[in-house]
């Protein structure tokens, strides 16, 4: 239907179609860029975490892994590798040492790399190879314990292996943090010859997988039903909970930002459509008098919209892609690794957003347009009202749907929609009252003040609508600023520079003093010593855990595994009492675990500590600052309950890179003490947090720019009337300054009220977001109360004056002609 396009091309000159196109482009490009960027960040986190896992996915088993599992993985073109870990005695000359040994197949690790060195206690270089057949790599600690060096032989069972490297970091070691324990790696091919694995040995078998997401998902679906209770499917995100937490919050933020972008582009789309429809009503009526049938007009506009969608979506997707590339390249200097390429398949999100927003914001209005009676050409002054409830309802439902699609959930969209509805009601009430009041203060038109306020009142409905749009945009901005600053502050506080990065375990009473001497000599800051025993919760209020969770599924963490327990009379650093009495003769429980296990003060727990059964009531609930990296415990017992048990002690300390070697050397004289180095993980978290903070600032900036554009569009949508009025005023002899003053007052007042209401809304929303989405504590944001009205007045007046500068420049004659 070439007529449709001819008409469309002619229409482009009027600028209305361009406004619509611009809205579409903004909507598609913001959603696309944020969507793609989130995808890249997620991929990047997954990769970084995969380094910790040494693979993309992992199956852990206590039995030998069936060969067909690996075959199936290979069939799906997944990379595979195997690791078998066990504890065994290693011999060298007349020294012997119980060690953690892992045998790995060629190709291990699939992700990440070994760090090895030729120097004892060296810092290590990356190695993507594994020990060759007949070779073994040993940790510096094991080497010093066995008194061996490179080139020496060690015996593992019946096999003799040659030491070729000192092992510094072992990717995918069984604890999420690398224990500086006696440890060694050998080639899988030598395993059989050792004869150390006999029926009944405690061995952990792992099958590592790497490959594209689709194949991994397919494999997961295939394997899951075959896993028994001693076998686990592991993903990178399950490990390193702290990283997961950080990433989770950042994702929530980016999703929130994206959702707000969806809302903003929805508003932009609705504004542009309304403007388009308003300006085309008379045209459609005229076309009808010329004999255009509704069917023809329907086809005409549908084709136009469709063409517009195709063009807008292409441009939007292109810009979106470019924008996220720019964000990524701006960040690349700050990132330790390059971001993975975004998945092209994510582009559909932007396209779908464009399509849906056209359908919900444009089509209903367009159908209105087509229904206009041709009679209106005879009654030039009839006003065509577009305030149909159905149009708003469709728009709202559409926006909600879009947000759900975008966030893949209901919570965030529900909070946002409730907020927007609330704000709409509020604006209607407050705005009406305020303008009503303004009117009574303004009669006559002698000053810019009076003209400005009077014109606010005169266009009550359009102004209220504009107030709503301003309020919404400012509110969204404030929410983002609020969330961003609390998020980043939270993170920074979470991980101080000198957070402890090493733990000392298994320290005996009599070793404490010697170790204290060593660390003070090295000038290391160390936390207090905590006594520690291991115990397992066996019953809750006299019901056994087994009877509560017979399937061993969905068990709260508290019952799932053996816990580290301590006893203390005083609340440690980083702990805060929430409820109850810490000094009472009972258990003190950490709040989150308590919530998960649905426990409260008064509930009785039975704990098995090395065969001794203790039953105690819960008498207090604590929060624990896990970020403090101090030794922390889910359960703290009263001193009396554990005093007689043989305990060992635990402490944490910060060791910087320069001191690491001397510290490890000093600790080599305490063979029984386990050292856990969490420095790598900490560093990784710090890098990720750095990246995220930057990313969030940039995304915020993008959204704010989009917001400013929406504001501009909104001001433009009432421009015609303002231009006409300004021209009339000037024809009537008003000086330019007076007109400018009037505009300033009008926009300033709109901006102030919008800012004020937005602040109230933002504060309420932040409350909901903090509590429900970010699982943080609610807090008050005094800064927003300053920022809101200020942004309102400054930004809105600036944009308003900028948009209507033509009112002041163009000769009034020209304006009156054109209208």
């Amino acid at each position: 239907m070439s007529f449709a396009f001819r008409l469309m091309f002619r229409d482009i000159r009027s600028g209305d179609l361009l406004t619509l196109l611009l809205a579409l482009v903004i909507s598609v490009s913001t959603v696309t860029s944020i969507g793609l960027f989130i995808d890249r960040l997620q991929l990047s986190f997954e990769q970084e975490s995969a380094n910790l896992l040494a693979a993309d996915r992992l199956i852990r088993s206590d039995d030998i892994i069936p060969a067909e599992w690996e075959a199936q993985a290979n069939e799906l073109s997944l990379q595979t590798a195997q690791r078998t870990s066990f504890t065994t005695m290693m011999f060298a000359g007349d020294s012997l040492q119980l060690s953690q040994l892992s045998a790995v197949s060629d190709g291990y690790p699939l992700k990440g790399a070994y760090l090895v060195d030729d120097v004892l206690f060296g810092a290590g270089q990356r190695s993507t190879e594994t020990p060759k057949q007949g070779e073994v790599w040993v940790s510096s600690r094991l080497a010093s314990l066995l008194k061996i060096s490179l080139g020496d032989q060690v015996e593992v069972g019946d096999a003799k292996l040659k030491v070729t490297k000192y092992l510094v970091r072992d990717p995918g070691s069984s604890t999420s943090a690398f224990a500086i324990s006696p440890r060694a790696v050998m080639n899988m091919a030598d395993l059989a010859a050792t004869n150390v694995i006999i029926p009944g040995s405690r061995v952990r078998y792992s099958l590592l997988l790497a490959g594209d997401r689709a194949s991994l998902d397919e494999y997961e679906n295939w394997i899951t039903p075959q896993l028994n209770e001693d076998q686990r499917w592991q993903t990178p995100t399950q490990r390193g909970e702290r990283i997961g937490d950080t990433i989770g919050r950042a994702e929530s933020f980016l999703l929130l930002a994206g959702t707000l972008a969806v809302v903003m582009s929805g508003v932009a789309m609705a504004l542009a459509s309304a403007r388009f429809v308003k300006r085309h009503l008379m045209q459609v009526a005229i076309l009808k008098t010329l004999g255009a049938t509704p069917k023809l007009l329907g086809k005409l506009f549908f084709l136009q919209l469709f063409a517009l969608f195709i063009v807008g979506a292409m441009i939007g997707l292109g810009i979106g892609w470019g924008m996220q590339e720019i964000i990524a390249s701006l960040l690349s200097g700050l990132m330790s690794t390059t971001l993975p390429e975004p998945s092209i398949s994510r582009l559909w999100l932007g396209a779908a957003t464009g399509m849906i927003s056209m359908v919900v914001f444009c089509l209903p209005l367009m159908s209105h347009l087509i229904k206009i009676s041709p009679l209106s050409v005879l009654q030039p002054n009839t006003k065509i009202e577009l305030n149909s409830f159905a149009i708003y309802a469709i728009g709202f439902i559409g926006m909600f749907g879009l947000m759900c699609l975008y966030t893949n959930g209901f919570l965030l969209p529900s909070i946002m929609t409730a907020a927007i509805l609330g704000i709409a009601l509020f604006v209607a009430a407050i705005g009406w009252l305020a303008f009503k009041l303004g009117r009574s203060l303004t009669s006559g038109a002698t000053s810019g003040w009076q003209i400005g306020l009077a014109s606010l009142y005169r266009r009550l409905i359009p102004n209220l609508f504009q107030l709503l749009v301003f309020t919404l945009i400012i509110m969204l901005t404030l929410i983002l600023i609020g969330v961003k600053s609390s998020l980043i502050a939270d993170w920074q506080q979470q991980l101080p520079e000198d957070a402890p990065n090493h733990y000392l375990f298994n320290v005996q009473d009599e070793q404490i003093e010697q170790i204290n001497d060593q660390t003070t000599q090295l000038g290391l800051k160390k936390s207090d010593w905590y006594p520690m025993v291991r115990g397992r919760v066996t019953a809750v209020n006299d019901e056994t855990v087994q009877s509560l969770y017979p399937e061993e599924k969905g068990e709260p963490e508290l019952y799932e595994r053996e816990l580290n327990l301590t006893w203390s009379d005083t609340l440690g650093k980083g702990n805060e009492l929430v409820e109850g009495d810490f000094t009472a003769e009972g258990l003190s429980i950490e709040q989150r675990v308590a919530k998960e296990a649905n426990l409260d003060i008064g509930d009785k727990l039975t704990i098995n500590i090395g065969g001794n059964i203790v039953t105690l009531p819960i008498t207090s609930v604590r929060t624990v600052d896990w970020g403090s990296m101090q030794p922390n415990f889910y359960l703290i017992l009263p001193k009396s309950a554990l005093e007689d048990y043989p305990a060992n002690f635990v402490s944490s300390l910060f060791v910087d890179d320069a001191q690491a070697q001397s510290f490890y050397r000093a600790m080599a004289t305490f063979p029984t003490v386990s050292i856990l180095n969490v420095g790598d993980i900490l560093k990784q978290i710090q890098t990720i947090i750095g990246q995220l903070s930057q990313a969030i600032q940039l995304v915020l900036f993008c959204i704010l720019s989009a917001g400013a554009l929406v504001l501009l569009a909104s001001v433009r949508s009432t421009l015609e009337e303002r231009l006409e009025e300004g021209a009339l005023l000037r024809v009537l002899g008003a000086r330019g300054a007076l007109v400018r003053q009037a505009l300033l007052v009008e926009f300033g007042a709109l901006g102030f009220f919008a800012g004020l209401i937005a602040t109230i809304g933002a504060e309420t929303c932040l409350l909901g977001l903090q509590v429900f989405v970010f699982n943080a504590e609610a807090s008050f944001h005094p800064l927003l109360w300053l920022l809101g009205p200020a942004i309102g007045v400054v930004v809105i007046s600036t944009i308003g004056i900028f948009a209507s500068r033509t009112v002041l420049k163009v000769p009034p004659m020209l304006l009156l002609r054109g209208l």
């Binding site: 009808k288 004999g291 255009a292 023809l296 005879l378």
Partner: protein
């Protein structure tokens, strides 16, 4: 000469609902207009002239009674149907011109032919604009034209579809005397040369007198003005 009946109206009433209740604007109108006749409808403001014109042109649906254009029932409730008849038989000229502001003069005139899928739209439009004396302003936009010029473009557009009936609602209402005369001359010339039936609402007595017949609208009733 026994001319065909172009428009036949019987017992036409029209009632609208407004916020103050029902308002009957037209109260039983009967009339007949022959082919290529020129008819003026006069009457005081608010008497219902525009409403009648709108109904005759099928821009709205009457409440009761019948309208026939060339013996075709024209009070069909289907907007689709009426639009088709309108495109075929009817041309329109308005007091406030109603050109599409985003289209050039020539494009405005091309519209009716284009709507019918006519390939020669541009040529015909050029010829028509030439006839109304605007061949030098083809690519100008409405806001670059004076009121009189705009109305001439509107007349060219109205004749672009070769209408059998031309409705005009106060075509000179917004124009000065000189321009008004020019427009009137154009209308009557085209009326004569193409045999178009002309139905015109006007407050201008001079103009009314130039028509074959004058009908007076008063409080929703139509009467013939005896000459």
């Amino acid at each position: 000469m026994a001319r065909n009946t172009a428009i036949k109206v019987s017992n036409l009433t029209h009632t609208v609902t407004s916020n103050t209740g029902n308002l009957t604007i037209l109260k039983g109108i009967n009339m007949e207009i022959k082919e290529s006749e020129s008819v003026a409808i006069v009457g005081s403001s608010g008497s219902g002239k525009s409403t009648l014109l709108g109904l005759l042109a099928g821009l709205d649906v009457n409440t009761s009674g019948d309208i026939f254009l060339y013996d075709q029932e024209f009070s069909s409730p289907s907007e689709e149907q009426r639009a088709l008849v309108r495109g075929q038989y009817v041309g329109f000229v308005f007091q406030s011109f109603h050109l599409l502001p985003s289209l050039q003069a020539i494009e405005n005139v091309m519209l009716p032919a284009e709507l019918k899928g006519d390939k020669d739209a541009r040529k015909k439009a050029e010829a028509l604009l030439e006839k109304v004396g605007l061949s030098h302003r083809l690519t100008h936009y409405p806001n670059q034209l004076s009121g009189g010029e705009q109305q001439r473009v509107a007349i060219a557009r109205a004749f672009a579809s070769n209408p059998k009936i031309l409705f005009a609602d106060e075509p000179t209402g917004n124009l000065d005397e000189e321009n008004g005369k020019l427009i009137i001359k154009l209308l009557f010339d085209l009326n004569q040369s193409q045999g178009t039936t002309l139905v015109m609402v006007t407050h201008d007595n001079e103009l009314a007198k130039m028509c074959d017949r004058q009908l007076v609208m008063s409080a929703g009733q139509l009467t013939e003005k005896s000459l």
